[in-house]
Symmetry: C2
Subunit: 327 residues, 2 copies
């Protein structure tokens, strides 16, 4: 068997060649990438995330390909949460020299695979040496037409609270991995557990949900990255309102109930504090956008009480509220 | 005296607040930043760099403010090298918890200070915890009008080779720091040495040189980031030509000769392999763009000899050729 080549052995040029082969783009390869011209009334949208090995991802649980997919999903969710369409990615890698070149190649392949359904490409990047493996992914997007972006501050009293994908799956997947101790130990024949684990390791966004919500006239939007209560609190605080969730609408579904039974963990913890599903959540005063469901109502904030919660469930403060703190 | 607060003590929200205060932008603060609408025939340009402490910068030699300035200069040089105008920045920080919050604030202040002359702003970012201090800076820019970008592959035989700023100053500055052992030890009254050290720690780009060159019809462009020979070799290789530099035109100037005398180092090493000046270098078949000087001529490549040099000086292979390898 051929010995695995490391990034140090491949050198900067070798690594860049491997990444460009795994995630090809004709826009890559000069001092900077020049994107395609956009429609005359469009605006550019941009966001960036840093991921540190064994803090934001672990090769014990996820393949490098999955880490690439997840990195794209979390960035594209932020682009979508503005109502925009993702168009391009830039990748910065700080890597120890002894990492296998194949790890980087697989990472790039995952990035390419997750970007492709959007017609987006990896258009540039940078590779340097470091002690930790640190990934920096920047996503660009396009906001077409004169309608405003979907910001955090647009929720108004009486608007419906809406969501477009699973809530709590990623957190359930992580707890399943930790419960069984390794990915191999998760029962292979339990499709539900496997699905939740996949959702944690490589969440996949449905294409176009952000632009759909904007076209349908949604009033605010974010994505479920730090936990439902934390992320909706950001909308509520910025909009000066309270968000009241409908307990029945957000109740753990049969998949989460199954995982709860297998792990002994309260599934409401996943629903309320989970994060990393990157499901779009927001508010609307117009029609329900296609593929969204209502999960609550925007209420007025109790301005008399400085400790009044920004998010309630059927009018009551949630049991679990602590979301992810990245530092 | 008040004890210095660390980033761990400030927490994610505290760090972000400090950065936004040091580098304010009304575009910051949502899931992603929405840039201002651009002219209808403009294209977006993007580039990213990763900087690792004690590899790409050192607080032994540079202040955090200077590191911020330098990070912007190196990114904006890449935007300019396409003939584009820098418009926005995204900053990712992976930081140990025990770094002083003031270090991050000063870094952001440097970024803001360097971006301001361009009308560019820090519009977003991410902060996470790690072992190394790693900075990831992404720059966006705008390429106005239908003229092509200034790419690496546009040099043609007979074109003039041009440059717009100092070459070798940054490398001289680093050698001066290493020669004297610390920044304090560099003679305070030696203005030339101080200037070269500043050029290493916080190079400042003249605003608009990239768009000037594009408007004047330059045929190719890059910036002096990895060393003159290395960077011009990239143009020559991609264009299928040889670049012949004029020894007299690139000869060390009186500042470099002075530094050479003080350090005992051959100043040609700085000129030919230095890098990090981020001076724009390129080629033109049209008039000399304002503020550029001619430094050589594009010649035909000897295709018979696979080892033929891409860059020569008065027809001869350079003495020094090894540039910076980031891995």
């Amino acid at each position: 068997m051929e010995r695995t080549r490391t990034v140090a052995e491949a050198g900067e040029a070798g690594i860049i060649a491997a990444i460009r082969s795994a995630a090809p783009s004709s826009l890559n390869g000069d001092d900077a990438a020049v994107l395609e011209a956009t429609a005359s009334n469009s605006r550019q949208v941009c966001t960036t995330d840093i991921l540190v090995q064994d803090r934001h991802f672990s090769f014990d649980y996820s393949t490098p390909f999955e880490v690439g997919v997840k990195a794209v999903s979390q960035n594209f969710a932020d682009i979508q949460a503005m109502g925009a369409r993702p168009t391009a990615l830039l990748l910065g890698i700080a890597t120890p020299g002894d990492i296998a070149l194949e790890t980087i190649t697989e990472l790039a392949r995952g990035i390419n695979d997750a970007a492709m359904p959007w017609g987006a490409e990896l258009v540039g990047g940078d590779v340097v040496k470091s002690k930790d493996l640190v990934l920096s992914l920047t996503a660009l997007g396009e906001l077409g037409g004169p309608a405003p972006a979907l910001t955090l501050d647009g929720a108004g009293v009486g608007h419906r609270v809406i969501a477009s994908g699973p809530i709590g799956y990623s957190a359930a997947g992580l707890d399943i991995l930790q419960h069984f101790g390794s990915r191999r130990a998760v029962p292979q024949d339990d499709e539900i557990l496997q699905e939740l684990v996949s959702w944690h390791c490589a969440p996949r966004l449905a294409v176009g949900r952000g632009t759909t919500a904007r076209a349908a006239g949604a009033s605010s939007m974010t994505d479920n990255s730090d936990g439902l209560v934390t992320d909706l609190s950001a909308i509520a605080e910025r909009s000066g309102v309270r968000i009241d969730l409908d307990r029945v609408a957000i109740a753990p579904d049969e998949r989460l109930l199954h995982a709860a039974e297998r792990t002994g963990i309260d599934p409401w913890k996943w629903v309320l504090t989970g994060g990393e599903d990157h499901t779009l959540i927001g508010t609307t005063d117009a029609r329900l956008p296609s593929a969204y469901r209502p999960i609550g109502t925007v209420r007025s904030l109790d301005n008399e009480d400085v400790n009044a919660p920004f998010v309630t469930i059927d009018g009551v403060r949630p049991t679990y509220t602590s979301g992810w703190e990245s530092l």
